[in-house]
């Protein structure tokens, strides 16, 4: 996370040295875009935190923990599909699940859908890409998540 801040700072400095005007124009453009998407980001924060608060960790563990069966893989995929999370959030969650004894296949299903498929984030995605592309991307994401889950199940011998 620090990396991106450093990269941004260095870029601004380099850009300032090259041209003050262009830098101002670029930063202004970026901040305008940020303001434009702010309601969507905040809506996402409110919805995600509401669901997180409503469904405590123990409940999630109760349904996807324990012995591997396809229903728990599907449930994990369902919860993962609710929203999009970046890798730096998804991987720590996966680590917690692993420590608590959740199987690799279930975690793979959860993490891949968490990163690739998002229902709550769909309005945001639609605003960026349009409905058609957003739908196609989510379906492809779901298919890829399924393939990765299957491969993990085979590799870890949990099939």
């Amino acid at each position: 996370m620090r990396v991106i801040q450093i990269v941004t700072l260095v870029s601004i400095v380099v850009s300032l040295i090259a041209s003050r005007e262009k830098t101002l124009e670029g930063v202004k453009y970026g901040l305008n875009k940020l303001l434009e998407f702010l309601p969507i980001f905040l809506t996402l924060v409110v919805s995600v935190s509401f669901i997180n608060a409503l469904v405590p960790d123990e409940v999630i563990l109760k349904y996807v923990g324990g012995k591997l069966c396809w229903s728990s893989v599907l449930i994990a995929g369902f919860f993962g599909s609710i929203t999009l999370m970046p890798g730096f959030i998804a991987y720590p969650i996966a680590g917690v699940l692993l420590e608590k004894g959740v199987g690799y296949t279930v975690i793979a299903s959860f993490v891949t859908t968490l990163m690739l498929v998002g229902v709550l984030t769909f309005p945001m995605e639609r605003k960026y890409f349009g409905t058609k592309v957003a739908v196609i991307r989510n379906i492809i994401g779901l298919i890829i998540a399924g393939i990765i889950t299957l491969v993990v199940a085979i590799v870890y011998g949990e099939l």
């Binding site: 601004i12 453009y29 935190s49 990163m115």
Partner: protein, 123 residues
Amino acid sequence: MIRLLKDWGIVFLGCVFVLLSLCFDLPLGKEMAKEGLNFLSTLMQVVPCVFILIGLFNVWVKREVVERHLGEDSGLKGYFWAVVLAGTTVGGLFVAFPIAVALAKKGASLRVIFAYVGAAGVC
């Protein structure tokens, strides 16, 4: 007015709910506030940087450069650059979406955009 309600409605409801929860000591709202602030601080550390970078990208990178490397005629190399770019994108799809739109506006092909978004999602 309707637009304002549509854009900010859920945020407004959420804030009211959290405030009421704080007044009446409801655990659900408190938990929600905690989760929300946590999530918000994570997002706010990354997202403004990304948008500033996009702004600078927009000013400095010429359309022809993107078209040449990521456009319709870029072939396999386009996918290669998309994956390399995705590997350097920190923050998952939240960050990748606006960048993808910026690339598309500069003339990258939809196939390459899909490759970029897909790869950025799992990084």
